[in-house]
Symmetry: C2
Subunit: 479 residues, 2 copies
C-alpha cells in the first residue's frame, strides 16, 4: 500500500549502503562465526559462563562499532543483557531501542544435526550461501547485522553519529522465556526511554515474500474445577436426579462457542479491533494453501469462526481452545458412576484491544451464571495473561519500516501476524512506545531445530533495511 | 388401588396360616441360623465348598418340606443352583418359578461388623426381634420363608400338594453378577416352563410402607473416542483453525440433553411407556423427602428432566450420564495445546419399552451426523445392554400379589421401581413369563454392608404373603 510514499533514502545513498555491505560481507560472516562458536545456552546451567562470554563478545563488538556507552546488565537470575547506546548528534532525532537476544536454543537432539552446531561453516544452499550453526538465524545473525547496518549508514552518509538516538538491548534468557527480563526492564526504565522499539527476532513470511509482523495474539488461560456429589454415585440409583459435574462441564465448555464458532462470553468482542477491508486484502495477497498447511498441522480439515480465512482466524481473530479435560472413570471397561468432580484447562487467544483481565471477568461471570445448584465451580487463571499486540499498518513507524524494506528488497511489502503470544506487548507497555518488527529470517532457517542456519544474503538485507530505517525514522515529522 | 378386589383367601384360612407360622417361628429362626453358619461366598475361591454345602443344605430342607424333585444344577463355572419342583394335583393350576439365591456377599470390611457375620444371634431391635448375620436378609431369609409359607398354605388348606405347580430356582452366584446363570437358564429352559416368575430378593420401600417393585431400568453404555490432529498442536499457531477433539466432544456430549434435560437422540422417547396419572399418583403417595435423599447422595441439589419428580426421574424415566471424560493435558500448570484425542464413557438408563440396540443405533447416527470434518469418531458399546423391565400394575399376576400382600399386612399396597439394572428382564425373556417381586426386606437391613440382619416378623410376613399368593394365583381365570 505505502510503497508509493516518498523514501528518505535516495538512490545514491542506497548504492553506497549496498557497496559497503558487499565489501564487508566476509567480515560479517567471520564475526558471526566467532560469536556462534560461543555456545550461549542459558537453559543449560553448565553453559552459563558461555552466556556471559557471549555478552562480553557482543559488548566488545558494539564498542568496536563506535557505541560510546556499552554495559552488561545482569538480571536478578544472572542472565546478562547487553545494553549499548549511541546518541545522535541531532538532539531532536527520535530514540530507538533495538531488541534482540544473544542466548540460543539447546541443541538436543544433537544426533539429528548433520554438522556440529557450534562449529559454523559456509555452504552453498538452494537460496544462496548459508551460514550453518546454532544461533546463525535466531538470534545472533539478526542482532549482529544491526552493527553492520549502522556502519553502512554512517559510511554512506559520512555522519559520525547515527541519525537516531540508538539503544541496543540484547537479552540473555529469551529462549528460557525471559523470566527475569521484565523486572530488569522496569528497573532500567529510565535508561530505556524511546519513541519506538524495533524487534529483530523473527522473519519474513517466505523466501521472496517480504513482510513485517504487525500483530500478535494475547493469551489468558485457566483451569476450571467442578464439584458435584461428595462420593461417586451409582448411576442407576441416582442418575438423572442430581447434577453430574461432567455433564455440567460439557455444557459449560460447549456453550463457549455458538454454531458459527463465535465465542459467546458477554462483551467478548466489544474491544476487538475489526479487520478492515485493506487488512483482509493484504492478508489475502500472501501465498497460502490450506492443503499444505493441514499437512504441517497433521490435521484433516480446517475449522473455525465463520466468515474468516485460516490466516485471519489464526492472526486476527480471538479463539478459545480446550487443552485438557478429565474426571470420573477413565480406566478400561465400564463403571457406571455419577462422578464427584470434573476438570478442564481452557485458554483464550486475544487480539487487540482485548484485555486479558476483562476476559477473565467475563468467564467468571459466565461460569457463575451457568453452573446449576448442586455444583460448585472454581475458575483459576494462570496469572494475569499476555496482552495482544497490534501496530496499525498506517502507523508512521510501520510506514517508515515499509519504506526501508521496500528500498532494500525492491519489492512489495506485506504484513503478517503471529498466532502465538510473546512478551512484546509487555515490553511496549513497560517502555511506553510502539513496537515494530524488523526480522530477516526465513521459515526454512530451522530455528529451534537441528541444522539451524541462515542465508547470508538475507541477513545482509536485514542490515541494509536497518541502514535505511534509521533515516526513514529520522525523517518522520515526529514519532 | 386394587385392595378392594375380592381375595381368594378368607378370614378363616388367614387365621390358620398365621397360627401355623406363629407356632413355627422358632423352627424358622433355628433353620435360618443353621444355613447362615455356612459362609457361602461364591466370590471367594476359598469358600466354594461352602457354597456347595449351602446348596446341599437347602436341597435337604426342600426335600424335608415335601418337594418330590430336588436337584442341584452346577453352572458351567461350577456355581450350584438348587432346583426343586412340586406339581399341584390340579393339572390346570398355573406354574410358578420362585427365584432367589443362596450365595452371600463377602463380609469385608469385617472389622466394621459389631458381631461375627456367620454366627447368627437374635437380638431385640427397634422394629422387633432381629436375626443377625450375613445372608439373614439377602437372600437366605427370603428364600427360606418360601418353605414355611408353603407349609402354612398346606396346613391351613389341608391339601397335600401346592395350589400351583411350584418350582424353586435358587442360584449360587448372584452376588458375583450371575456370569454363567443365563446360560444355565437357557440349557434348562424345558424344566423351567412357567406362567409367572416370583423374585424374592428385595424389600419394601420402608418399614410400614408395603410395596412391590414393578419396574427396573435397562442400560446400555459405551466409550466414545475422537481423534483430531495426529500431533499435539501449539494452540497459538493452530488454535481456532483446525477442529479440537475436546471441543467437539463437549459439543457432542452437551448436545445429548436439551435445556429441559430431555435426551435429544432421534426417536429416543418413541418407545417409552408414558407414566399414567394413576402411576404418578401411586408414586407420589410414597413418603419421600428430597432433603433426606440428598443427604444419602451427598449432593446439594436435585436436578433432572423437567416435569418429573425425583422418584419418577429415577424409576420411570430414561436418563443419560457421563461417567468419565479424558483427553489432552491433565497435569499441573498449563500447556496450551490442541490435543490429538478426546474420550468419554457414557451410559443410557432405559425404561420400558426401549430397546438397548435401538438406542445404540440412535447414538451411532447422532455421532456420525454431528462430528465435523477433520475428526474421526469411534463409538463402542459394552455388549448388547440390559433391557428395562416393567410389569403393568393392572396385570392379573401383580393384582394377585397385591391381594396377597394386602391380606398379609392389612394395609395399602404401593409400587416401587429400581433405578438400577438387573438380569430380571433377561430371566423373563428366557422363560417367556411375567416376573413379579415378592420381597420382605427393609432398607435398614444393611444388605451388602457390615451388620446385615433381618427383622424376623418381616420375614414371616413374607412367608405369609407367599402362603396367600399361591391361592390368589390359582384363583385367576388364567395367568
Amino acid at each position: 500500500m505505502s510503497q508509493n510514499s516518498a523514501s528518505a533514502v535516495d538512490d545514491a545513498r542506497r548504492d553506497a549502503v549496498r557497496t559497503f555491505l558487499e565489501a564487508h560481507k566476509d567480515e560479517f560472516v567471520a564475526q558471526l562465526s566467532e560469536w556462534i562458536r560461543i555456545p550461549s545456552v542459558w537453559t543449560d546451567p553448565e553453559r552459563r559462563d558461555d552466556v556471559q562470554r557471549s555478552a562480553e563478545w557482543f559488548a566488545a563488538a558494539a564498542r568496536a562499532t563506535g557505541f560510546p556507552t556499552v554495559e552488561i546488565w545482569p538480571a536478578s537470575d544472572g542472565a546478562p543483557t547487553v545494553f549499548a547506546e549511541w546518541p545522535s548528534d541531532n538532539p531532536n532525532a527520535p530514540t530507538v531501542v533495538v531488541y534482540g537476544h544473544h542466548d540460543v536454543q539447546p541443541v538436543d537432539p544433537v544426533e539429528q544435526w548433520s554438522f556440529a552446531p557450534f562449529e559454523p561453516a559456509v555452504v552453498e544452499g538452494p537460496d544462496g550461501d548459508r551460514l550453518l550453526g546454532r544461533g546463525a538465524s535466531d538470534d545472533k545473525g539478526m542482532v549482529l547485522y544491526h552493527l553492520f547496518g549502522l556502519r553502512a549508514n554512517l559510511a554512506a552518509s559520512g555522519r559520525t553519529s547515527p541519525p537516531v538516538h540508538l539503544k541496543l538491548l540484547i537479552e540473555g534468557e529469551e529462549e528460557s522465556g525471559s523470566p527475569a527480563f521484565p523486572e530488569l526492564l522496569r528497573a532500567k526504565r529510565d535508561r530505556l526511554g524511546c519513541d519506538v522499539i524495533v524487534v529483530s527476532d523473527n522473519g519474513h513470511y517466505a523466501a521472496g515474500v517480504i513482510t513485517t509482523c504487525v500483530r500478535m495474539r494475547g493469551l489468558t488461560d485457566c483451569q476450571i474445577d467442578l464439584h458435584g456429589p461428595d462420593v461417586d454415585l451409582h448411576s442407576g440409583s441416582f442418575g438423572g436426579s442430581v447434577p453430574n459435574p461432567l455433564t455440567v462441564l460439557t455444557h459449560l465448555l460447549a456453550g463457549l462457542h455458538d454454531a458459527n464458532n463465535h465465542i459467546t462470553l458477554e462483551g467478548f468482542y466489544d474491544d476487538v479491533a475489526p479487520l478492515t477491508d485493506v487488512e483482509r486484502d493484504l492478508i489475502a495477497r500472501l501465498p497460502f494453501d490450506d492443503a499444505q498447511w493441514l499437512e504441517t498441522a497433521e490435521s484433516r480439515a480446517t475449522f473455525g469462526e465463520a466468515g474468516y480465512t485460516t490466516l485471519e482466524r489464526i492472526w486476527a481473530r480471538p479463539t478459545c481452545e480446550i487443552h485438557g479435560v478429565w474426571g470420573g472413570y477413565m480406566g478400561p471397561g465400564h463403571k457406571t458412576i455419577v462422578p464427584t468432580d470434573a476438570h478442564a484447562k481452557v485458554s483464550f487467544r486475544l487480539v487487540a484491544n482485548q484485555q486479558p483481565l476483562d476476559v477473565q471477568a467475563a468467564l467468571h461471570a459466565y461460569i457463575a451464571a451457568n453452573v446449576p445448584d448442586g455444583i460448585t465451580a472454581k475458575v483459576e487463571f494462570f496469572g494475569d495473561g499476555v496482552r495482544p499486540y497490534l501496530v496499525p499498518i498506517d502507523d508512521p513507524t510501520v510506514q517508515a519500516l515499509v519504506r526501508a524494506l521496500g528500498r532494500a528488497y525492491d519489492d512489495e511489502v506485506l504484513f503478517t501476524g503471529e498466532g502465538g503470544s510473546g512478551p512484546e506487548a509487555d515490553i511496549a507497555e513497560i517502555l511506553q512506545a510502539p513496537l515494530i518488527f524488523l526480522g530477516a529470517g526465513l521459515p526454512t532457517d530451522r530455528v529451534h531445530a537441528p541444522d539451524e542456519h541462515a542465508v547470508i544474503s538475507v541477513l545482509l538485507k536485514g542490515a541494509e533495511t536497518a541502514a535505511y530505517l534509521w533515516d526513514e525514522l529520522a525523517a518522520l515529522p515526529s514519532v
